[in-house]
Symmetry: C2
Subunit: 424 residues, 2 copies
């Protein structure tokens, strides 16, 4: 069964089997309200959600965007990483709180009020916002809604739904071992709606890990998951991933913990790529024969970010000339000394370029085009993507022995419509 189409069933099964971090006890709450000031958005509803562990969490970690215009939640989140404990996460959607004159003061006000009402320590509260860049939060109305928020009782999937903006389905993944588990929710669909921030990831675990291992595992997992996807831009002003551990479950070796966190992050990354409205194909580019991980990753991103490759795949056109042009352009500009004679390119396991020349025929092109058509989703999705498939491109640079994969998407009419016609 497709993962994305069965997300509610997946969640319910996790909860029933106890396959989620049962030792992470605390409140999950959500609330929807209608702010009075509306920045041109109809219908304008704002969701609030909170994850409030019963006790302060001393093992926690965060990874934040490297964007040079970080939102206030990122600036504040980095400060909380310096504290002894985290006390919870508050999230709103609709307005991103980026470059607003009162951004950090608003966060302080939210921390104070939520702390007063819930008993959580204010300075350890992550206050996270996602949505339009440039508007200020409706502070009075958010604080006025807090008492009601704290009376609700939600499940993780409800919080995954509440933090959605342009997402068409909630993202939730889990990994379990004998003595505990890791649960992650995420929000993100590429920056496909104007000014909507890309990606929020919240992971909780009951496994007993040190704070240092928390950070190490999260940083490593982000590198092999969210840093390997590319829808239209690498980093928004608000991207963040947080990991909180209650430490009330068992203890496992670091390698096992780390691989569980990576598994959850990689699943969520796939869900984010597959989500975007306007995405007709998910593209996986694997680059082998590189001399370093960064070299492989950057070559893969150059291909998956090429508008010419993206539009060709949207049209189910296995246009190898564009793959070669994008690779050659990137390597030429970056001083990567590939030699055309040593490069091999395969599309869906079919060799299409080797020994310095294309290996194409009408029959091969027809075969590849049919394969691309089969892997396509109807981009006008209203719920879940129609398949879990992707278009696989493999490039062997013929220089070294490092391999990396990146995930991206095609470029469709629906993408342009989503992004051009939003305000009009």
């Amino acid at each position: 069964m497709q993962h994305t189409a069965s997300i509610q069933a997946y969640h319910d099964e996790l909860m029933q089997r106890g396959d989620w971090p049962a030792g992470f006890s605390g409140r999950w709450t959500t609330l929807t309200f209608v702010p009075s000031e509306r920045p041109g958005l109809e219908p304008y509803r704002m969701n609030l959600a909170a994850i409030l562990p019963d006790q302060p969490v001393t093992a926690f970690a965060g990874v934040f965007t490297r964007n040079r215009f970080p939102g206030a939640p990122v600036i504040s989140g980095r400060q909380i990483l310096q504290h002894a404990a985290a006390s919870g996460i508050l999230v709103n959607n609709r307005i991103a709180n980026v470059c607003s004159p009162s951004g950090l003061q608003d966060i302080t006000a939210l921390q104070q009020e939520l702390g007063r009402l819930s008993g959580a320590s204010p300075e350890g509260l992550f206050c996270v916002s996602t949505g339009i860049i440039g508007w200020s939060l409706p502070l009075q109305e958010i604080t006025a809604a807090m008492p009601q928020l704290l009376q609700t009782s939600a499940q993780p999937i409800d919080v995954a739904r509440a933090i959605m903006t342009t997402d068409s389905f909630p993202k939730l993944r889990a990994a379990r071992c004998a003595v505990g588990s890791v649960l992650g929710i995420a929000k993100g669909a590429g920056m496909i709606e104007p000014n909507m921030a890309t990606m929020l990831v919240f992971l909780v675990t009951d496994l007993e890990v040190s704070r240092e291992d928390c950070q190490r595992a999260l940083s490593a997992a982000v590198e092999t998951s969210f840093n390997r996807i590319s829808v239209d831009s690498d980093q928004s002003t608000s991207d963040m991933a947080l990991l909180l551990s209650s430490g009330k479950g068992g203890t496992v070796a670091y390698e096992q913990f780390s691989s569980m966190v990576a598994e959850v992050c990689q699943g969520l990354a796939q869900d984010i790529v597959r989500n975007g409205e306007g995405v007709a194909h998910v593209i996986e580019v694997t680059v082998s024969g590189a001399r370093s991980s960064a070299e492989a990753r950057d070559c893969g991103k150059a291909i998956v970010n090429s508008p010419l490759v993206k539009t060709a795949i949207y049209g189910n056109d296995p246009n190898v000339g564009r793959i070669v042009a994008a690779l050659g352009d990137h390597c030429g500009n970056s001083g990567i000394p590939i030699v055309p004679e040593a490069v091999r390119i395969l599309v869906e396991d079919v060799p299409v370029f080797q020994e310095g020349a294309f290996r194409l025929s009408s029959a091969v092109e027809q075969q590849l085009s049919e394969r691309l058509t089969a892997a396509s989703m109807n981009p006008r999705i209203t719920g879940y993507p129609q398949n879990d498939d992707c278009v696989r491109i493999h490039i062997d640079l013929g220089m070294g022995d490092v391999q990396e994969s990146v995930l991206g998407t095609d470029l469709s009419h629906e993408y342009v419509t989503e992004n051009a016609d939003y305000r009009t």
Copy 2:
């Protein structure tokens, strides 16, 4: 009057007034024929064109793509730069002669045959191809058409037309001083047709200059013109610019010569950007306050290449959040230490971001949206762009005193259609 809409009149006036390199005497020829093998293209006509100076040219220069998969014409062209003299230029459109197993042999055969028929020295003939990547040239048919090609007599504008692929109008610019002139023609419309190579530029002059100055002036001009435009990719496998000087006109200081070559190249670069079918807006991003020219250029390109910025401008949406996000992403990834508080952003001379915060209101957004609408061309052009206008974005990084401008285009439905639906 618009330059592009009056290109024929511009050309005719140049010729009548003698404002073109009259001292560059030689044959300009063009011919159209229908090859028997058709790589899926209808109607499939191939144009041939040649520029054959009466005498070998010892002052000449070339600048070639840095793409790591260079076409055979680029490989051969680089070799000719090592020779004592150039004897002319032969061009075909439709097939690019890139990564074809017989690419270089085909060029040798063309050089031999054209040399035999015209008396030009074979080893000094640039044989240039533009069109589909991956197919081989119809060698027999091109050589069979050569006698007829050599009987035609064309004008520069006819050659500019003959080398077009997806171009919707020919590109021709000239610059004159008291003792001679520089004339340039170009072909290019962004890589908007599948596998079509981007850009060919041929300049001729009668000014007497050294070979060294020829190369220096051309390299410098390319840097401030073609290397400052970005439609969808920086360099195709076939990009090249050639400059031939007959030396039969007068002598000028290097600075004057260099500025004439730059003027012609900058005009042609603007024409190429404005050409693309599917281009609704031309975007000029000026970056000041940078510490180096490369830093300014790369920041500008990051903005003009952002799919989110491009689609917003297509929708006449002055979406400043996306400009900030693209700039912040690039600077964060490239280690450029901009400080949001020191950055200023203006759209159409209106300050929209300063002192770390957006300066937006409904009135400002409305004003900018109207301005963007006025600057838009109907992308479904059949001939010339409807205006010579562009959307102006100015970014002051607040770090240094270097300024550069780059030109780019928006991202439209027509772009996706052009690029996705070509083979279907």
